[in-house]
Amino acid sequence: MILQVEGLCKTYPGGVKALDGVTLDIRAGENLGLVGESGCGKTTLARVVMGLVAPDAGTVLLRGNPDRREFCRQVRMVFQDPFTSLDPRYSVREILKEALTLEPRMTTGEGLTRMRRVLDQVRMPRDILARYPHEFSGGERQRLAIARALMTEPSLLILDEAVSSLDVLVQKEIVLMLEELQQRLHMTYFFISHNLRVVRRLSRKIAVMTGGRIVEYGDRDAVFDRPAHPYTRTLIQAAFNYEVAP
């Protein structure tokens, strides 16, 4: 069990209930796809898990451990918008180097080796270390964001709408790349999206969220073939435009 989330509640000032008792488990190698409409609390859940937002109640444990440092080392997050997730003032080298903040000290050579390795992994050329984010396209930037996430060889990667803002072709490339990376690096994905096709492709387990609650949680095929909750049914209908058995 990599991640255990139990009874998370979060109400934003103004009374918006973003999380209402969310409980989830993620096992090693079992990618979890989280789907739901905009505003249902998906992003808040990701942020609470990463420690960016303090929950009102509930616990988040990484292998039974709530320590932030461990989270920072083993869990990495890829954000939705690659145009804002890389600081425009720093070069690729500095951006990648920052990911090593909590790692034991390493020499420049070791750092470089690692940077080259992750650039290979995301299929970006190795000679871009001195360049700045604004020189890259959206798809390339998202690859850089993923490269940054891979720097510490995390065991869990949270992808918060990581392909949603990219065009369909780039989306496909990145999804294929993520599939390949998972096989090579033995990571687990916590994949958050409103795109059911992508989620179906990448996830073993599916959680469906609406109004801050997980309304359905189970194996991918079970959820897609026999959705138990009416909301899931509407969602699948809307996405694939076909009737599912009631």
């Binding site: 942020r47 990463m50 420690g51 960016l52 932030r68 440092r69 989270f71 920072c72 080392r73 869990v75 990495r76 997050m77 954000f79 939705q80 918008d81 804002t84 997730s85 890389l86 600081d87 425009p88 003032r89 920052e98 990911a99 903040t101 909590l102 700045y132 604004h134 964001a145 940054r148």
Partner: protein, 359 residues
């Protein structure tokens, strides 16, 4: 950094501001080499040349032939109402370039005695006239620029250091920290600047050396200046801290201060640069005001403000209008800083163009 480069390109297009920047550059260059350029040192005075008018520069000898640059001696006269006036005598004092004169230490390190131009004693060269003790106003303006022009920059650096840090911390942490720091800012801003200046100056003992007074005034000036900037920076940080790269840095384990310094403050730098430039005149004027009323730099040391204290009597201005020269330089420096600051702010954010406030 491309944001900076774009702003610079827009800035360069503003001719007036570019010229103003050039003028400032020149003023600072003159200040840096004041010892070499000034014909006289700070303490050089002449009882025989009280309020001597600017020396006339001659190039033609009495017979009309070309003779090189020279000045004539002057003789003091009193008329029946005891009004002083100066007449040129027939004595000729050629202007010498890089001749030996009073010794000084360049940059406080190198002992030198060469001056860019000078005349032999007992002749005196007064490009901009002399003051009540026969001291050369041109030399004193150059020496005084050291105080007047650097106090602005130094004060601004200190107060903006404080302002950036306080604003950054308040904006980033929010909540109680923000509340306490912002109330503190308001308290500082609430006190009228000039009276706070006077009160703080009163708290500093009188028996200080000129350098200590200089330092004390700088610190006093910076103490009033930081609050305004802190508030603006706080506002910027409130939105900057929600950027994804800040969140990303946090999830990678960077500390709070590291994030503020690496990912938040650098994004306020273009704005701060404009605000800094626009704030410098305030410091120059603050020092001038303090020195003018005798609380700042003390004689014999010069600052543009304390030189002006001689010009507080209308009668003196009437018979020796050249003692107002320091006011011209204060005005020039202040105007240039304002032009450059305005232009830089417009260049940095074209949307602000034409808005009058300096906030």
């Amino acid at each position: 950094m491309s944001e900076m480069r774009l702003a610079w390109q827009r800035f360069v297009r503003d001719r007036v501001a570019f010229i103003a920047l050039g003028v400032l550059g020149l003023l600072y260059a003159l200040t840096l080499f004041a010892d070499v350029i000034a014909p006289y040192t700070l303490r050089d005075e002449s009882r025989l040349h009280t309020y001597c008018p600017p020396s006339a520069l001659h190039v033609l000898a009495a017979d009309g032939s070309f003779s090189g640059l020279y000045v004539r001696g002057v003789a003091m006269h009193y008329d029946e109402y005891r009004r002083r006036s100066y007449n040129e005598t027939q004595d000729v004092y050629p202007v010498k370039f890089f001749a030996r004169g009073e010794p000084y230490q360049l940059f406080g390190l190198v002992r030198m005695d060469r001056h860019l131009f000078s005349v032999d004693e007992p002749g005196r060269i007064y490009l901009l006239g002399a003051d009540s003790r026969g001291r050369d106003i041109f030399s004193r303006i150059l020496h005084g620029a050291r105080v007047s022009l650097t106090i602005g920059i130094l004060g601004v650096l200190i107060s903006f250091g404080i302002g950036l840090l306080v604003g950054g911390i308040a904006g980033y942490f929010g909540g109680h920290v923000d509340n306490v720091l912002m109330r503190l800012c308001e308290m500082v801003m609430m006190v009228p600047g000039f009276y706070l200046l006077l009160a703080l100056r009163a708290a500093v003992p009188d028996s200080l050396s000129s350098l200590q007074i200089y330092a004390a005034i700088t610190i006093i000036l910076s103490f009033i200046g930081w609050a305004g900037l802190a508030r603006v920076i706080r506002g910027m940080c409130l939105s900057l801290k929600e950027r994804d790269y800040v969140l990303a840095a946090w999830t990678m384990g960077l500390g709070d201060m590291e994030i503020i310094v690496r990912h938040i403050l650098p994004h306020t730098i273009s704005y701060s640069l404009a605000a800094v430039t626009l704030a410098v005149p305030g410091y120059i004027l603050g020092e001038s005001a303090l020195s003018l009323i005798g609380l700042g730099i003390q004689d014999p040391y010069a600052s543009w403000g304390n030189m002006l204290s001689e010009a507080m009597s209308i009668v003196r201005i009437q018979f020796a209008p050249w003692i107002l020269w320091p006011a011209f330089f204060i005005g020039l420096a202040v105007m240039c800083f304002n032009l450059v600051g305005d232009a830089w702010r417009d260049a940095w954010d074209p949307l602000l163009k034409g808005r009058g406030d300096n906030a």
